[in-house]
């Protein structure tokens, strides 16, 4: 027989071992080692096993002994949810990760516009719902201790009767200590609690091994094999299928809801998840775990009913069976299994609840009072950690006092079901929030309040028994004597199983109120935005909501962030953000994106609603931009984006087509030009050639020619060859210019000198006179260019005016204007101008204005344009001038030091 002291020694040893494992895991995580284990899917799956609590470990056998196979629904529901991971859990995990969700209350509050009211509501409901559950764990541990103290098969009671209250107290203290020590090491809830998770994984293995060991002992050691065990099962009181269909379906639903809604399950399933891939592995591994946990429950129950004396507590068969057979070590292992189940549940449940209480109740109150003005300096982290630690102790104390108050009575399974019913009230709001964009805050508040009230009235209060919390009269005649308000026959629907009755009424009224409230209310912009982001989590994972951050100084934000994140972390975060904004040093700009990221970071520590409120204190308020609203109207946003993209594309296309068309026109034109160039050049070469040939034939063949005639003919030939040479020179020059092979002889000089030279040369070369009007004062402009080439252009322009000006008293005005750093020189005569149709062509080669005389080849202006282009200038026809006008624009040299160069230019 194991003595109680021995048992306690082993138990303490086990606890010390757990502390050591947790401590080692924390150390390894800090040093960055052991990720293969700490972040493995195995540990993730095992951490989910906190679903299997002391209730499961001991209570399932008791449940089976009382009602046959019904106990299995408690495992089937979660298995279904896990197998259907693709539908819901995947979404929840993604939302949890991208919105840095810290708890189920945080998720609901965040979805419905970061409403703190909802967060408080859910937190209070969760605390009320889970406290009996924590009490239940304390009860299961003390119950199992007491059986060692007073073994069932030893009459006379050799062991001392155990002081259950004291035992429960010390268990509660130990659990509180462990949770405070390993659950509040880091403030950021999204960072994993490696110590806790590893300890839970170890406990998961211990409880599974313990139950399987007892199962194997029972089936092969006591029953004599599988076949015999099956036969014995069929012979027993629970040998036939006796499960009520309604209870089967309802309890499966309830257990499925609990897996999602229980704060501790949400904690391990969503918050502690750090790799989405693990979810799919858990989708089969966790059902496997559950299956193994429930495999031996029925055989243990049946053999226990058979072997143990009448009146033994079936909730403790797992322990009393091995004990009655003298298997002390097995009993010890079973005890450790039960102890593990109870402790791991309490640790995580407290952790999850304390986060909720601290983030959603304590912090908002602290913020609301003077202490909480966020502009103050000083570390606020200790406040958050302290509030979390106090919350942990508070919740464990609550569980302990509930245990004392309830007197540790009642079957384990019944208390567990009540707790499930309470948290299941979150289900409609949670599902609606994730799948229905129309769900609103008002609807959620309605649904939660009504569902919770109905649960309290039909499930929680009746559980204290007739004349417990509710008077027997209320059971008989309904609340306030209203017959339709009887806790076990609401609206006159009687004859139902109480659990089915309570679950069906609470969940259906909850859902109805939620949907009705959502349909009639109107959500705020932030709410709609969050709704769109939650529902379409896989479409736009990145948040779009912005702050009007201009008012917020980055310094203020920095001070606040330092207080919550700690100086080192906050500075690292701000530096990273500054780098994202491509700022080499200093603080980042308070852009909406940055403030958004900061809020997320804070949310991971203090929850979305509190972080939102803190940032709002500094920043003033959220702005919902037009773009954000378009994101809310998701479909229209996509369509708008698509159509604007189409518009851009089509504009680009038409632009390209336009360019192509003009390029094509240009090419066609060039081709025509080339043809006409060839024909022109042949024509131009041919004309002087013809006259040279004819006159040289005359000189050769004619006998009688006077010396005067000979001289005349020879000089015609001479002048024709000169014209030919000039033509060829021009062509050569143009070709050189066009190929860009010309070398410019850049020098500084005054414009006046160049004009003087050009005017003199042009007048000397031409017989026809033209009056040239100049304004020498304006011409005092310095140029740095190839002055000889420029003179050539001016000569050409002046010569053209001399040749083609049709006026009786031809005049040419040369005006110089300074336009910024450009100098414009206009050559305007008093002729008739050039017809519109010809203007586009005058700068082309061989282009001659029709109807004009003259012997030019039509290369002059083409050459001018080439030269001026080379000189970085521009030559244009002036369409608005009185007669024919050309404007030459050139870059001017600043006036300073101009006088030094005038002489140099003059001499050049």
């Amino acid at each position: 027989m194991v003595s109680l002291n021995q048992l306690i020694a082993v138990c303490l040893l086990y606890v010390v071992g757990l502390f050591a494992v947790a401590f080692a895991a924390e150390r390894a995580a800090v040093k960055g080692r052991g990720d293969w284990l700490l972040r493995s899917p195995l540990v993730y799956t095992l951490s989910l096993s906190i679903y299997c609590t002391g209730w499961t470990f001991y209570g399932a056998v008791g449940y089976a002994a009382r009602s046959g196979l019904e106990y299995v629904t408690i495992y089937l529901g979660p298995s279904l949810v896990m197998i259907g991971w693709w539908w819901l859990l995947r979404r929840l995990v993604r939302i949890g990760r991208s919105h840095r969700v810290t708890s189920v209350a945080d998720l609901i509050s965040s979805r419905y516009g970061k409403s703190n009211l909802l967060a408080i509501l859910v937190t209070v409901m969760a605390v009320i719902g889970v406290t009996p559950y924590i009490a239940l764990q304390l009860q299961s541990v003390t119950l199992s201790l007491s059986i060692f103290a007073a073994p069932p098969n030893l009459t006379g009671g050799a062991g001392d009767p155990i002081n259950t209250a004291q035992a429960a107290f010390w268990v509660a203290v130990g659990l509180g200590l462990f949770t405070v020590l390993f659950g509040t090491r880091n403030l950021n809830v999204n960072e994993r609690h490696h110590g806790v998770v590893i300890a839970i994984a170890v406990e998961a293995i211990v409880k599974l091994l313990a139950l399987i060991a007892v199962g194997i002992f029972v089936v092969w050691g006591l029953a004599g094999g599988v076949t015999e065990a099956m036969a014995q099962i069929d012979r027993s009181d629970i040998g036939t299928w006796q499960v009520d269909g309604g209870r089967w379906a309802t309890l499966t639903l309830l257990a499925a809801a609990a897996l999602i809604c229980l704060p501790r399950m949400f904690q391990v399933l969503v918050v502690e998840n750090d790799d989405e891939r693990h979810l799919q592995i858990a989708s089969w591994a966790f059902p496997l775990y559950l299956m193994m946990m429930s495999l031996f429950v029925v055989p243990i129950a049946v053999v226990g009913l058979d072997l143990l004396p009448e009146g033994s507590n079936p909730d403790l068969f797992v322990l009393s069976l091995p004990l009655s057979q003298g298997q002390n070590n097995l009993a010890m292992l079973a005890f450790l299994g039960g102890f593990s189940s109870a402790t791991s549940m309490v640790i995580v449940a407290t952790l999850a609840l304390s986060t909720m209480v601290s983030n959603h109740i304590v912090m908002p109150i602290w913020l609301a009072f003077g202490q909480g003005t966020v502009q103050q300096s000083g570390d606020v982290r200790h406040v958050v950690i302290l509030s979390r630690r106090l919350s942990i102790l508070f919740i464990i104390a609550l569980g302990y006092f509930y245990y004392r108050a309830s007197g540790g009575s009642g079957a384990l399974a019944a208390i567990g079901t009540i707790s499930f019913g309470g948290v299941a009230q979150f289900l409609p709001v949670l599902l609606g929030g994730v799948f229905w964009r129309g769900a609103t805050r008002t609807g959620a508040v309605f649904g939660l309040c009504i569902g919770f009230s109905v649960w309290v009235f039909t499930m929680l209060l009746p559980s204290f028994g007739p004349d417990g919390a509710l008077s027997a009269q209320t059971f008989e005649q309904g609340l306030w004597g209203l017959a339709w308000l009887r806790p076990e026959a609401m609206f006159g629907v009687s004859g139902l199983d109480p659990t089915v009755h309570a679950v069906v009424w609470s969940l259906s009224l909850n859902t109805l109120a939620f949907i009705f409230g959502s349909l009639v209310s109107f959500p705020s912009p932030v709410e709609r935005l969050q709704g769109a982001q939650f529902v379409n989590i896989f479409d736009h994972s990145s948040p779009t909501r912005g702050w009007t951050a201009s008012e917020a100084g980055t310094e203020d934000l920095m001070i606040m962030a330092q207080r919550i994140l700690g100086p080192v972390e906050a500075q690292a975060f701000f530096r990273a953000q500054a780098q994202l904004q491509e700022k080499a040093e200093g603080l980042p700009e308070p852009t909406p994106r940055f403030v958004q990221a900061l809020e997320r970071e804070l949310a991971a520590s203090v929850g979305a609603a509190t972080a939102h409120a803190m940032v709002a204190q500094l920043v003033g308020g959220t702005s919902v931009s037009v773009r954000d609203l378009l994101a809310v109207a998701d479909e229209s946003a996509q369509m708008l984006e698509y159509s604007s993209q189409l518009e851009i594309k089509s504009r680009e296309l038409s632009d390209t087509a336009e360019k192509l068309r003009s390029a094509n026109d240009k090419l066609t034109q060039l081709s025509h030009q080339k043809d006409s160039f060839l024909s022109q050049i042949s024509h131009e070469l041919r004309t002087p050639m013809t006259s040279i040939r004819s006159f040289s034939e005359i000189l050769r063949d004619a006998e009688a020619l006077s010396p005067e005639e000979k001289t005349r003919y020879a000089s015609i030939i001479h002048s024709e060859t000169i014209r030919l040479t000039r033509l060829l020179d021009d062509l050569l020059g143009l070709s050189v210019l066009e190929n860009g092979a010309v070398t410019l002889n850049r020098q500084k000089g005054a414009l006046r000198g160049v004009l003087d030279l050009a005017v003199t040369t042009a007048q000397a070369a031409n017989t026809r006179t033209i009056k040239i009007i100049r304004n020498p004062a304006d011409e005092d402009v310095m140029l740095e260019t190839d002055l000889d080439r420029l003179a050539q252009v001016f000569i050409n322009l002046i010569t053209n005016a001399q040749k083609y000006c049709v006026s009786d008293t031809p005049e040419l005005g040369i005006n110089v204007m300074l336009q910024g750093d450009q100098v414009a020189i206009d050559f305007i005569d008093n002729g008739s101008g050039i017809e519109v149709a010809s203007r586009a062509l005058i700068f082309e080669k061989f282009a001659r204005v029709p109807g004009q005389g003259g012997e030019g080849a039509g290369l002059g202006l083409a050459i001018c344009r080439e030269i001026i282009t080379r000189l970085q200038g521009n030559i244009t026809y002036l369409p608005d001038a009185q007669g024919t006008g050309f404007r030459v624009t050139l870059p001017a040299v600043p006036r300073s030091g101009a006088s030094d160069n005038i002489d140099a230019a003059a001499s050049a």
Binding site: G84, I233, D234, W241, P287
Partner: protein
């Protein structure tokens, strides 16, 4: 070998088609499990000892058999789809 010939995209198309059907299976697996586990609703609940009844050993075999089947299917689907799901999540 032959499927890698140029001009035969059949292999790739077939693979992505297969993947999509496997994802359909992933989605439908919980429906199947639910359907199987709701079958006990149809079993008779005897009021008297003489009424026809389903023995507990039979019920145990059925429920745990379905359970094991779902787990095996889950493992199979995980083996076949996990890599592709992770790839699509990254892109």
């Amino acid at each position: 070998m032959t499927t890698n010939r140029p001009g035969s995209p059949l292999f790739l198309a077939r693979r992505s088609y297969r993947f999509r059907r496997l994802m359909d299976a992933v989605r439908l697996l919980p429906v199947l499990a639910l359907a199987f586990w709701l079958v006990p609703l149809l079993w008779p609940v005897p009021d008297q000892a003489s009424d026809p009844a389903v023995t507990t050993s039979h019920a145990l075999r059925y429920i745990f058999g379905v359970w094991l089947g779902m787990i095996v299917l889950g493992v199979f689907l995980w083996r076949r789809t996990a890599r592709q799901i992770a790839r699509e999540n990254q892109s």
